[in-house]
Amino acid sequence: MATPVVNNTNTDLEKVKSPSGFKIIVREFLKDKVALISLILFVGIVLYVYIYSLGLDTREVTRVDIFNQFREPGAEHWLGTDYGGRDVFNQLILGARNSLTIGIAITLITSIIGIALGLLAGYYGGWVDNVIMRTVDFVLVLPALMIIIVYVSIVPEFNVLKFIFIMSLFYWTSKCRLVRSKALAERELEYVAASKTLGTPDWKIMLFNVLPNLSSIIIVNMTLNLAGNIGIETSLTYLGFGLPENVPSLGTLISYSRNPEVMENKPWVWLPAAILILVLMLCINFIGNALKRAADARQRLG
């Protein structure tokens, strides 16, 4: 009865080697102080922004008050006011909320498109793969920013939904490529063949067998995408082709800096929004990289 003993030690060893996914992530964050601080900071900012904005009314915040123009930061407006006499801090909170919400919405939509098409392409291969990947190649070489800008400026009755739509149309491709390449490798594993022989239909294998095994890299990618999407949205809004005027974004505040006078002498109007974007982007990226290391055993710190 020597064999079972050997087996048991093997089992114990493997138990030690493979703790649960959540534990790995926690350990990774504890090892990486920057990521931990980023996580705390990010969660703090997000909670603060969403809770504080509950008490804000967009129309109230964006109402022009000409007598309060360009007040410097002080007790009453502690980030000052803009050219319309509107409180910068309140706009910052609303802008952050809108930018985050829209960034998340675009990330979710592009993820669903990218994952669905990537899974189909990788799982089936052949002509399905060919059609999807040639489409991806084409979308990737399109001058996306310019086409979005043109669309925004010519579409009738432009609104937030249309903005999310046009953004989602262009930014699903990287996720699709990623999921496809991983699914391609995954489908060669025998558990997929096993599921087929057990009579499991293809769609179930894709959704319940293959997809869960890709979840960690998808989550990492979504985190990094969120930063990217917020960046693109605020960039476009900065140029005046992003969110419509009734939905202030962080880009809106920064766009006031296109007036050199504001840029040079009234930095309190735009600088906080710029810094908030920087902080958010950095936090998301450090979190994303810690998750990435947790997902990839070779890169783990601890």
Binding site: V34, R134, D137, F138, L140, V141, L142, P143, A144, L145, M146, I147, I149, V150, Y151, S153, I154, L224, A227, G228, I230, G231, I232, T234, S235, Y238, L239, G240, F241, I254, S257, R258, P260, M263, E264, P267, W270, L271, A274, I277, L278, M281, L282, I284, N285, F286, N289
Partner: protein, 322 residues
Amino acid sequence: MLKFIIRRSLIAIPQLFLLSVLIFLLAQAMPGDALSGKFINSPNLDPAYQSELRDKLGLNDPWHEQYVRWIGNLVQGELGMSYVHNVKVETMLESRIANTFWLGLATLILTYLIAVPLGVIAGRLPDTNMDKFIVTYSYVSFSIPIFVFALIMLYIFGFTLDWFPTGGSVDVRTEPGSWDWYVSKLHHLLLPALSSALLATTSTIQYLRNEIIDTKLKDFVKTARAKGTPERKVYTRHIFRNSLLPVAAFLGYDIVYILSGSIFIEQIFSYPGLGQLFVDSIQQRDFAVVNVLVMLFGVLSILGTLLSDIILSIVDPRIRID
């Protein structure tokens, strides 16, 4: 090899065709047409005459005929008339193309000047503090939106420190062609190019770093060491030669990245290039110019990607796609 290049090039043809159709359809959806500019000075023109003119110009033909005519003109270099300024689009592009070209070139050079040494250092000394710093920088630079970074650069170095001019492509008081004129041009280029370059380094640094780390473990490097080749020579002769070449392949991708970034950079630094022209034209609803620019950027992006894919397939056969 040749087969791959030809096959990859053939993919670009349907891409170009689809791009042109897409832009043509966008153009159809845009308000205004080739006559809008002509009538701008005579708004009281008889509507009947207007429609007669439109007929004559073929603006009421079926769309596929219009498309063929449109693409024919584009290929022959006839880009049409600006709706707003009533001048040929070519004329409007001329000076701007040069400006964007120089800005792009300066950005590319700066990108490699920053990225290559950093990538080499990080790859040579992985897991040191220096390496950690460089890797962090490459992640950070990847995550910062270019317009925020450019704005802060402009605010600090342009407005606050006053080291660089805050707008334009050249000091208008200098004589074109003179030494001062060139110096002024370079002075205007430097800050926007640096802002763009500092963020464009990510892929080069990371690729170079990983490549060097991988190459170090290859057998031919071990052999070189075992033979007693001096450590410096191991790097210069064996490792860099193998790792640096693929970096050249990012040229095309970098061009595409820098071009799309130029829309923001030129706007922020009031630099009169194609990107700024695009934003201005959109704001003035000058869709004749907009169209040409989208087409131009699209073509450049297709060609840039093509270029990179081909170089990459030559220097790094692993990446060759079928």
